[in-house]
């Protein structure tokens, strides 16, 4: 039983690492700024999931970190089965803050599109150099 759980756990971790690599490729190699943002959101979500998995325990009856009833006896079994609450507490804030930062990046991309007429990183570089030569900025 335990080996099966460990195997599934390893598969999940390795798939997440593969997702991180693919999203890093997207951030670095895609020229479109919107696609870069999509890859960045995939990257942050995968990183958050990896952090949550850090607190997981490879045992069979595993419980969320919420006390089931207000008694000292329940506390004993609770500590034996509950997962680590600390990574979850970090991820809660990271998800919402990540959403706010993504909104900020999306606003910047919209504004770039309005001012330059393109979201292609290569074309943006060319436009900037011509603007600098003409003294437009």
């Amino acid at each position: 039983m335990n080996e099966v759980i460990t195997f599934i756990w390893t598969v999940i971790i390795l798939s997440l690492i593969a997702t991180v690599i693919i999203s890093l490729y997207g951030i670095a190699r895609r020229p479109n700024l919107t696609k870069k943002l999509i890859a960045l959101t995939i990257f942050t979500d995968t990183a958050n999931l990896l952090v949550v998995l850090l607190g997981y325990r490879l045992i069979y009856p595993v419980a969320p970190p919420v006390l089931p009833s207000f008694s000292k006896e329940a506390l004993q079994t609770f500590v034996k089965t509950a997962v680590d609450p600390l990574p979850q507490a970090f991820v809660i804030t990271a998800v919402v803050i990540g959403m706010a930062v993504n909104v900020l990046i999306a606003f910047a991309i919209i504004q770039i599109y309005r001012l330059y007429g393109t979201v292609d990183a290569r074309k943006l570089g060319e436009k900037q150099s011509t603007l600098l030569k003409e003294g437009g900025i």
């Binding site: 919420v66 509950a82 809660i92 504004q111």
Partner: protein, 256 residues
């Protein structure tokens, strides 16, 4: 077929590697000492936060200062978005004028269903936030759920429907400021009675009228709920301004 080849190679690599390294991995069956400390102390221990929900008690009590600064990061990100889309007074008035294509809106079915669902979303998000110290949930999650309601109204009606009923950008910013101010004040209250910054027990009463409120946790959750929900609402209201109107502003500025 050609596009499937990298996928198959990736899957075979992952399963093969997993099969190879599974016996060599350390079995993570025990808790770390820090996590065990939080689980034991959250409700019963000497350093109790009087909350059965361990994640919330870490979030707003044991690691409260972390969350306070995370909230300031959220505040700065929202302020940055609002600054990028900054309009002057005259333009803001003009952005509130209904343009021609928004007169009719979507069909009656969508509008009535939205009207019912928005009320349900408001109730559920308030429940998530106010029960944050008892069940999984809290201010951040409740606030994110709350922000869905104005988004739905923007999609089904238009942003003008929100503004006609008084929820414009200024109003959303006022609600967000109330939330942030509330968090700061609740953090400062323990200093008055000789405690530490953001201290929870025993300064705040754990029970109010027979109900478990877990000291300061419910206040933090409520104010964070307001701040997150209203902050996102302000951003969505700006995003909903039609592109045509913005283009008009930019062109006018270029001509001047």
């Amino acid at each position: 077929m050609k596009r499937l080849v990298p996928l198959i190679i990736l899957l075979i690599t992952i399963f093969g590697l997993a099969y190879y390294i599974t016996p060599k991995l350390p079995q993570q069956t025990e808790l770390r000492p820090l996590g065990e400390f939080y689980l034991k102390n959250s409700y019963f221990g000497d350093y109790s936060a009087k909350s059965p929900e361990v994640v919330t008690s870490i979030l707003w009590d044991y690691r409260g200062l972390d969350t306070l600064f995370e909230t300031s990061v959220f505040f700065i990100a929202i302020i940055g978005s609002l600054t990028l889309f900054r309009l002057n007074k005259k333009q803001e008035e003009e952005a509130k004028q209904k343009t021609e294509e928004f007169r009719i809106g979507l069909t009656l079915i969508i509008k009535s269903v939205t009207r019912v669902i928005v009320v349900m979303i408001l109730a559920v998000s308030a429940s998530i936030a106010l029960h944050g110290h008892l069940t999984p949930g809290g201010g951040f999650q409740g606030g994110s759920a709350l922000a869905v309601a104005p988004l739905l109204i923007i999609a089904a009606y238009s942003k003008y429907a929100l503004e006609e009923h008084g929820l414009d950008k200024t109003m959303a910013l006022i609600f967000r400021s109330i939330g942030l101010l509330g968090i700061a004040l609740v953090a400062l209250v323990p200093l008055l009675s000789g405690g530490f910054l953001m201290q929870n027990q025993p300064i705040f009463p754990a029970k109010l009228g027979g109900q478990l409120v877990s000291g300061s946790l419910i206040y933090y959750n409520f104010f964070e709920f307001l701040a997150v929900g209203a902050g996102f609402t302000a951003v969505f209201l700006l995003l909903a301004i039609p592109e045509k109107v913005f283009k008009k502003f930019l062109r006018r500025e270029a001509n001047e």
